[in-house]
């Protein structure tokens, strides 16, 4: 029997790479997004249109998936504002998707998983540990994800493992936009590259690789951890006189 994985936010970016990888690894993959099914969704992936922050959204996803052995909470949004500038609507948007959505999905799959076994991988962020400027709500929402990850691991073992991945700079359309808006896009890009010891930015596949591994039996003793994948960026001080 096929094992089923739910990947939230599989329409693009990191989520899409995870969908592709898990399909390749033989998982039956159910994914979702707030829009209609993307035309380029890989064959075999099951699309559910819905918002994980709402009860209708997660219920539809669960009903399409049936019993699941893996849950990957990847869906996320960001609002680029400081605390002073953030509105109630900004707060609701970020917390609904990044926090409530992750919570909803975990709560929905855990009762069966606790009996039958399974693994959860949440996508946090290095920003939940060290702050990205003007991303206050996003940074806070990712710290929520890290702490929830540990709580689930502690409360719902031994059959359930729960871990988080903290990506750094992953080159998605969102990151490309940031360079395009810089005063000097070329200088901005080379400066950012120099802050990555491995000499490149992350790719969505880098995150998908670890998700895939965390869902295997190779990782059967790993639970409650948050792993940083950032090409070494946060191992270095933000102060690098060589880059002034």
């Amino acid at each position: 029997m096929d094992k089923t994985a739910i990947v939230t936010g599989g329409g693009r970016g990191i989520g899409r790479a995870i969908v592709v990888r898990l399909l390749r690894d033989g998982w039956r993959v159910v994914t979702c997004g707030r829009g209609a099914e993307p035309e380029d969704l890989p064959a075999g992936a099951i699309w559910v249109q819905g918002d994980v922050a709402t009860s209708e959204g997660w219920a539809a996803l669960l009903s399409a998936a049936g019993p699941v052995q893996a849950l990957v909470n990847n869906a996320g949004v960001q609002v680029e504002k400081t605390v002073i500038d953030s509105t109630d609507a900004d707060y609701d948007q970020v917390m609904d998707v990044n926090c409530r959505g992750t919570f909803n999905m975990c709560r929905a799959v855990l009762p069966r998983m606790t009996d039958q076994g399974g693994a959860i991988v949440n996508i946090g962020s290095v920003s939940g540990v060290v702050s990205d400027p003007t991303m206050a709500l996003y940074n806070a929402s990712k710290a929520f994800v890290h702490a929830l990850t540990r709580s689930i691991a502690v409360d719902h073992g031994p059959n359930v493992r729960c871990n988080a991945i903290r990506p750094g700079w992953i080159m998605t359309a969102m990151a490309e936009d940031a360079f395009a808006l810089a005063r000097d896009p070329d200088a901005a890009r080379s400066d950012a590259l120099a802050r990555h010891p491995v000499g490149r930015f992350g790719k969505p596949e880098d995150i998908a690789n670890m998700v895939a591994w965390l869902l295997t039996d190779e990782a059967s003793y790993i639970s409650g951890e948050c792993f940083t994948i950032d090409g070494g960026m946060t191992a270095a001080s933000p102060l690098n006189p060589g880059l002034f």
Binding site: V130, D132, G168, A178, A187, T234, S237, N240, G242, F244
Partner: protein, 264 residues
């Protein structure tokens, strides 16, 4: 005055940060011993400050034993030990000689070990008074994240962090608290040397421009002064901190709270 009646020993007590700690302890009413290689220390000028100078190489077991014997004879107890002596080698591991590596560990780690080891009997006496004794080690934010070209220094500070927790576990039951202060960029001779160093990007160029750039990366828009560090050391040394132990206290103007600051 929060430290009246207390005796304190500060290694590196004539250096940039150590000097500020000595001055603060004296203002708070403590009897202070300042250990250092020379009476002048790393600062260009030194005013008489009322501390008791102890000529001390923290890597020498003989020196350390003699220093603690002197405190035993003159005070009979030690309430506060601050391990502020430290050096940094500005190199990658490939460029670091074995001698430089060993010297880094000798001063930053072995020194902390030796002074703590021989101060323990005196710290126990102080703790029997009903007030806790306090050891304050010097870690660094570099023990958590790396500055480029400071490999041995980063490694020694990581070791000090682990030693701090181990000492806190072992000697807490005796009423001895052990903490580490982990500074970021502080305006000391060590930092000025870093500004001038080849690995820093300074390369003997415009130091003021470099200093401004360093300030601007900090959320507080400045790097620290030795007094900023002395403020925290003073608090950890005193009775207000009687429940604080085994912790690594980062003091860096918010520097390491941020992710890399991209030029966007």
């Amino acid at each position: 005055m929060t430290l009246e009646g207390k005796t304190a020993f500060v290694t590196g007590g004539r250096g940039g940060i150590g000097r500020a700690i000595v001055a603060r302890f004296l203002r708070e009413g403590a009897t202070v011993y300042a250990g250092d290689l020379t009476e002048q220390g790393s600062l260009a000028a030194h005013d008489a400050d009322g501390s008791n100078f102890v000529k001390l190489d923290v890597t020498s077991e003989t020196d350390v034993m003699a220093a603690m014997e002197r405190v035993t004879g003159e005070q009979g107890k030690l309430d506060i030990l601050v391990n502020a002596a430290g050096i940094e080698i500005e190199k990658t591991i490939e460029d670091t000689t074995l001698d430089e590596w060993n010297k880094s560990f000798a001063v930053n780690c072995t020194g902390t070990f030796l002074t703590s080891k021989y101060a323990l009997p005196l710290l126990r006496v102080a703790a029997k008074s009903g007030r806790t004794a306090s050891v304050i080690n010097f870690g660094s934010y570099d023990g958590f994240i790396a500055d480029p070209g400071l490999a041995a220094y980063c490694a020694t500070k990581g070791a000090v962090h682990a030693l701090t927790r181990a000492m806190a576990c072992d000697h807490g039951p005796e009423g001895i608290r052990v903490n580490a202060v982990c500074p970021g960029y502080v305006d000391t001779p060590m930092l000025q040397s870093f500004f001038k160093g080849e690995g820093s990007g300074g390369n003997g160029g415009d130091i003021e421009t470099l200093q401004k750039a360093v300030r601007d990366v900090h959320p507080m828009r400045s790097y620290g002064s030795p007094d900023d560090i002395a403020n925290l050391v003073n608090w950890l040394a005193g009775d207000e901190a009687r429940y604080a132990s085994g912790q690594l206290w980062v003091l860096d103007g918010g520097l390491s709270a941020q992710v890399q600051q991209m030029k966007l």
